[in-house]
């Protein structure tokens, strides 16, 4: 059985841990607010690019492979994870989903990863990946999205991949992040249009003039569209990461506190038992002397 000394040491260590996790929780909370703010500010651009994509895709008659696709021999999967851990199941659930997606493909798969967690995962499993982008999961900038976007668009253009999927954690709240899979290329704007279908009908009545033609615009818009989707995914993932870390740290602090309380109680009981024992001994000794 542990001595009072041991218990004391354990309690001390738990208290230190809980102090640390509480600090991390606070920091994550601040970062989460910043990320949420960034996400909101990025929305107008993303929504407009989305709308423009739909306008143009509706009008472009071409069988452009960017829209229609081609025979699928190779599929690229881009997995967006965080650089750091301590975020509960945030990365694990995403990587699990990635492996599931990989298993579902009939075609050969190639992987592109962002975030050190995915990089480490693939390396550990001995699964090859084409390219890893790291160092920005915490607070991504558009430049980062551009870098990854260019790489992915090139994979598609060079026919090194015939479909490009993006998998990331969508931010719903600090408690809930859901892995989602979207197809980046070929572009499938109708997927995003479902929620505001009414809006789209209104838009079709206006005869838009396209300068130059829709096909040329499409060529230029698609890379931007891919970058925009990536940027949004990075921002959602960043917010999710901070949210998940905050939640994970909160439960870590809670259980550390709970354990510390249990141990304190145990220690007190032990001390009380010892005191009772001593009193009994003294009383016993005194009686023996008196007798």
């Amino acid at each position: 059985m542990a001595s009072a000394q041991d218990l004391k040491r354990q309690i001390q260590s738990l208290d230190n841990t809980s102090k640390m996790t509480q600090a991390l929780q606070t920091i994550s909370g601040i970062k989460l607010r910043k990320a949420e703010n960034q996400l909101n500010k990025a929305r107008p651009y993303a929504d407009n690019v989305d709308e423009m994509m739909r306008d143009i895709a509706n009008r472009a008659q071409s069988g452009s492979p960017l829209l229609v696709g081609r025979e699928i021999n190779r599929v690229a999967i881009c997995t967006v994870t965080s650089d750091r851990g301590l975020a509960g199941g945030f990365n694990a659930q995403l990587l699990k989903r990635t492996m599931q997606l990989r298993g579902e493909q009939d075609a050969e798969t190639v992987h592109v990863v962002t975030g050190r967690k995915a990089e480490a995962f693939f390396r550990f499993r001995g699964i090859g990946y084409e390219e890893a982008f790291t160092g920005f999961s915490d607070s991504p900038s558009y430049k980062d999205a551009q870098r990854v976007g260019r790489y992915l668009t090139r994979l598609f253009e060079d026919e090194e991949a015939d479909e490009v999927y993006l998998i990331y954690n969508r931010y719903q709240s600090a408690l809930v992040q859901r892995p989602v899979v979207t197809r980046l290329l070929p572009v499938a704007p109708e997927d995003n249009g479902e929620d505001d279908g009414g809006n789209e009908e209104g838009g079709q009545n206006i005869p838009l003039e396209f300068i130059p033609g829709p096909e040329v615009l499409l060529q230029r818009l698609v890379p931007r569209y891919v970058e925009t989707l990536l940027f949004r995914a990075f921002l959602e993932s960043a917010a999710g990461e901070h949210g998940a870390r905050m939640t994970a740290m909160k439960s870590a602090s809670d259980s550390a506190n709970e354990m510390s309380e249990d141990l304190t109680r145990q220690m007190n009981r032990m001390r009380q038992a010892q005191i009772t024992q001593e009193i009994l001994e003294i009383v016993g000794g005194a009686e023996a002397l008196a007798g």
């Binding site: 107008p44 651009y45 690019v49 423009m52 206006i206 838009l208 615009l217 230029r220």
Partner: protein, 151 residues
């Protein structure tokens, strides 16, 4: 359509938004917007016909009451529809915000990189285009700053 327009002409207003991926730069009621699109400069007044086009690297000018706002922009997209002008660009800065030295070093750096691109690289075309684009953006910043900045 013209009947519809006449009926509603009173009180009609033009709005303009300049948006970058990271934030909304300008959002407001305006009198006129001038921008360079795919086939040349376009001036947009109220009730302009709907157009979707590209924005070329250059300057966007917005007249609002007595004020004039100028933004040096990278390339991007342009849309007018229902009296709303939307300009979607990666970068948009006012002449006052432009750091001329930084812009000049951007140009210089792009030029250095251009001379380093080897023709043997299978990717050289794409690289070259990308670097040239960066150079043009830098040059545009310098030009806009000189033309509209300070004085």
């Amino acid at each position: 359509m013209s009947e519809d327009r006449n009926q509603q002409q009173e009180g009609r207003q033009l709005f303009c938004r300049v948006i970058t991926p990271e934030q909304v730069i300008f959002d407001g009621e305006v009198d006129m917007v001038v921008a360079r699109i795919a086939d040349g400069d376009i001036g947009v007044l109220v009730d302009h016909q709907p157009v979707v086009s590209t924005v070329e690297i250059g300057a966007v000018r917005i007249n609002q009451d007595d004020e004039r706002h100028v933004y040096a922009t990278s390339d991007g997209f342009f849309k007018v529809s229902e009296n709303l002008v939307q300009i979607l660009v990666e970068e948009a800065v006012t002449p006052g915000e432009i750091d001329v030295d930084a812009a000049e070093s951007r140009v210089e750096q792009a030029e250095n990189e251009l001379s380093e691109v080897s023709d043997e690289d299978e990717d050289s075309d794409r690289q070259q285009k990308e670097i040239e684009r960066r150079r043009t953006i830098g040059e545009n910043l310098v030009r806009v700053a000189r033309e509209y900045g300070e004085g």
